[in-house]
């Protein structure tokens, strides 16, 4: 492993160029696919969690192909932290909103009072919103897990 690291250090661009280009091309598609998985979770396998992981994987791929700094340019540490909080907050917020609107906790039908769409539709929409939150949280957490583990916590250099 050490050899490899040394090799990379000696030759920062060269050998990795093909991989980098490929990754660069691939990443948007992976992210699109991740979004699709989240959004289409109602009709096909997938959902917030799987989609979130795929989205996270795209950033991890960036970090693998380039280095940690590059991936940090795409999503800074602060944004990452914000997104993970936001994801979890969306879920709990919606659950709480249902309760505050007079229903029970997580009773999406209570959102009817906000915009009347029909109870079933609200259930569907509620699940969607919640999955979105899950996706956000999972994505950012997966990325942050990788960052920390790959850099040993100092966020300076990756693998």
């Amino acid at each position: 492993m050490k050899q490899l690291q040394e090799q990379v250090a000696r030759n920062p661009e060269g050998d990795n160029l093909i991989i980098r280009t490929a990754v660069r091309l691939l990443v948007p598609f992976i992210q699109l696919y991740g979004l699709y998985v989240i959004v289409h979770g109602h009709y096909s396998p997938g959902g917030g969690f799987q989609g979130g992981v795929v989205l996270g994987a795209s950033f991890i791929l960036l970090a693998l192909a380039y280095d940690l700094k590059t991936s940090l340019r795409f999503m800074s540490e602060r944004v990452n932290n914000l997104l993970s909080n936001l994801g979890a907050l969306i879920f709990i917020g919606i659950a709480l909103l249902c309760a505050l609107l007079g229903g029970l906790f997580l009773d999406y039908a209570a959102l009817e009072r906000l915009i009347p769409l029909g109870a079933e539709e609200w259930h569907s929409l509620g699940i969607f919103l919640v999955e979105l939150g899950v996706g956000l949280a999972v994505m950012s957490i997966m990325v942050s897990l990788f960052w920390d583990l790959a850099s040993g916590g100092d966020m300076e250099e990756g693998l």
């Binding site: 009709y43 096909s44 396998p45 969690f49 897990l145 920390d148 583990l149 040993g152 916590g153």
Partner: protein, 129 residues
């Protein structure tokens, strides 16, 4: 003997899960390398997931994704659809498993930083000295 064989074949999923479970469990308590313990933990958890998933199987059943319009207009024959509940539970279990793995790996890095090894006996020796 014959009976035993049918028993095994009829419930081979349980046998498989128990074997995997034992492999994982053994690694968790018997291995001295911390990463091995962690891998064992993951095997243990996948074994449990296998166990749960296999409880939901219906012979000849369809995957639990329906056709919305058909389902709304004609209803659903429950015996034709694979039980989705264990899947739901196991999605959660997988998440839990990966979370625990993540935390444990982070702690492993800290341990390595502290002691320079991941072997339990070597670490204990270092603590003693």
């Amino acid at each position: 003997m014959d009976q035993l064989l049918t028993e095994i074949v009829g419930k081979y999923n349980y046998w498989l899960y128990v074997v995997l479970m034992m492999i994982g469990f053994y690694a968790m308590i018997g291995k001295r390398n911390l990463v091995k313990k962690l891998l064992g933990m993951n095997i243990f958890q996948t074994a449990i997931i296998l166990f749960y998933v296999s409880t939901g199987v219906k012979r000849g059943g369809q995957i639990p994704i329906l056709d919305k319009h058909a389902a709304l207009s004609h209803g659903v024959d429950a015996s034709q659809i694979i039980n989705p509940l264990p899947h739901v539970l196991m999605l959660t279990a997988i998440v839990v498993s990966v979370s625990v793995t993540g935390v444990a790996l982070a702690i492993l890095v800290r341990i390595y930083r502290e002691y320079g090894t991941l072997e339990e006996d070597e670490i204990l020796e270092k603590i003693r000295s």
